[in-house]
């Protein structure tokens, strides 16, 4: 599924939801292909603090460093629908998204009442 660049920019910074409606990041950037003279095509969604580097000057670089600088690439073909949010076809772990939440969860679950 290829999209015009207008729609691509229209989903920038939107919330990503996985198949189950779980929040797993924002659309931090888009990978666009197409040289001069060719129609630009969104090929992937880029997610993660590492992507912030290029988007906000030095503040972005500091924020990226503070947040741990990881990056995940989600192919555009994985987008199921674009409504208020961008819904993906599979679950978050299958894309490598939401890993920090998954890593933290076992520690929190050790405390009573964590799963009320």
């Amino acid at each position: 599924m290829s999209e015009s660049i207008d729609l691509g920019l229209g989903i920038l910074d939107h919330q990503l939801l996985d198949k189950d409606g779980r929040r797993c990041g924002n659309v931090d950037d888009l990978a666009i292909e197409g040289g001069p003279g060719e129609p630009a095509e969104v090929v992937a969604i880029l997610v993660g603090p590492d992507v912030w580097r290029g988007r906000a000057g030095w503040i972005g670089r500091v924020a990226a460093w503070v947040a741990g600088g990881e990056r995940v690439r989600v192919p555009w073909s994985e987008v199921a629908e674009v409504t208020a949010h961008v819904r993906l076809k599979k679950t978050a772990p299958e894309y490598g998204l939401g890993r920090l939440d998954d890593r933290l969860r076992p520690y929190l679950e050790k405390i009573p009442g964590a799963n009320r």
């Binding site: 972005g60 405390i111 009442g113 009320r116």
Partner: protein
């Protein structure tokens, strides 16, 4: 009938939850310095928060996005990041002041050592947030905050010059010390239109799954809840004016504020005042705490929610725990909660345009809002208030310096 009962209860909780430490400090201090002359500023502030809360609720109900989601999408990544950093700094200051305020109240009620109570307060807040269902949190702290109505009774019992009180609702400046007057006006507006409140409100709207069907409820909630809550602010200022102004007392501690109810109403007034302040400030600290966590979660895109179990939103949970610990440590440095409150309110005023401009833009954006975009009334009010917010934001820090933090 049941629904009306539910709405009424919700409004009661909103009234009790309206007042936070900034309102307490600035309203009583304004009364003690200028009597009833600044009452009209409180009205301006209340209408302002009603305007923007209604807009936020509408944005969230129609677009299914909380304010910070919309901020990043609408103003872009860089401006969104700057807004986030500013919001988190102000939030941290406010939270520290509130946790300090809770510890002070606990100390005035129990007599136990301050340092111990700081840790106890933080732990108690953490346990409440971890274990208690959020609807119950709102009820407990909202109803407890209703004890602050003792200040309304106190205001009447102090026999203020009601003519002068009425005159105070008419905008006028009748003083030689115009700079100090301006400083208090700025502080009162900042205390009424706190940013964390709108972030919190809109996040709640998204979580409750508000849709366009709930727009009427949203409007009612905002108008009645905040409007009646404003009565508490009036009461605080009237008490300040009736009791402290004439005697030349400048209330510098939370305990002094409680005395405003103690003098006309005796021991029971004192206890109700302290309990009311405790619940109002504790409730506000939970709102502030969550607002700080919401902002970060919504900006970064990870899972959040007040109704989620702690393990259901791990990074969100970790965020509020860290924010609470940092606030607790900050309070333990011995910082004066009342002075910090003044700083926090003034700095939040500076950040107000960053908070409210995106809301105004999104509320007008037909792509987000479809046919529910701002009508003429909402836009007139919204733009009017935005101009006020800009002026106030630009003058806040100069005024703070020139008046030496309200010392004149």
């Amino acid at each position: 009938m049941n629904k009306i009962f539910g709405v009424a209860l919700g409004i009661l909780a909103a009234i009790g939850g309206f007042v936070d430490i900034g309102d307490l400090v600035f309203n009583v201090a304004a009364g003690a310095t200028f009597g009833y002359q600044l009452l009209w500023v409180v009205v301006v502030g209340v209408v302002g928060i009603i305007t923007y809360s209604e807009m936020c609720g509408r944005v969230s109900a129609v677009s299914q996005k909380a304010v910070f989601d919309a901020v990043r999408e609408r103003v872009g990544f860089k401006a969104g990041l700057i807004t986030l950093i500013a919001a988190e700094i102000v939030n941290a200051m406010t939270l520290t002041a509130e946790v300090g305020g809770v510890a002070i109240c606990l100390q005035l009620l129990s007599g136990l050592p301050y340092r111990v109570l700081i840790v106890l307060a933080a732990i108690a807040l953490a346990i409440v947030v971890w274990v208690v269902n959020f609807d119950w949190i709102e009820r407990i702290f909202g109803y407890g905050g209703l004890c602050l109505l003792v200040f309304a009774v106190a205001a009447v019992k102090l026999h203020p010059d009601w003519g002068a009180v009425g005159h105070g609702f008419v905008p006028h400046v009748d003083t030689g010390n115009k700079l100090l007057y301006a400083y208090f006006a700025v502080g009162l507006l900042g205390a009424a239109m706190t940013p964390y409140e709108v972030y919190f409100y809109s996040s709640g709207a998204v979580e409750e799954g508000w849709t366009v069907k709930d727009l009427g409820l949203n409007r009612l909630n905002a108008i009645v809840g905040y409007g009646l809550g404003g009565i508490l602010s009036f009461a605080l200022m009237i008490v300040g004016g009736a009791l402290f102004l004439g005697k030349g007392i400048d209330p510098e501690t939370l305990g002094s504020i409680a005395m405003g109810a103690q003098v006309p109403l005796g021991e029971i007034g004192l206890i109700l005042a302290l309990v009311g302040i405790l619940f109002a400030v504790a409730g506000a600290s939970i709102d502030t705490l969550f607002s700080g966590a919401y902002d970060l979660a919504q900006f970064c895109g990870f899972e959040w929610g007040r109704h989620k179990s702690p393990a259901g939103a791990p990074r969100f949970t970790l965020t509020w725990i860290v924010l609470l610990i940092l606030a607790m440590l900050a309070v333990m440095t011995g910082v004066d909660a009342v002075k910090l409150t003044e700083f926090a309110v003034i700095f939040s005023v500076v950040a107000l345009p960053l908070t409210y401009l995106p809301i105004l833009l999104v509320a007008n954006d037909k792509a987000y809002m479809k046919e529910y975009a701002n009508g003429r009334l909402a836009n007139t009010l919204g733009i009017f208030y935005f101009v006020i917010i800009l002026i106030v934001a630009l003058t806040a820090i100069p005024l703070m310096i020139l008046t030496n933090l309200g010392q004149g």
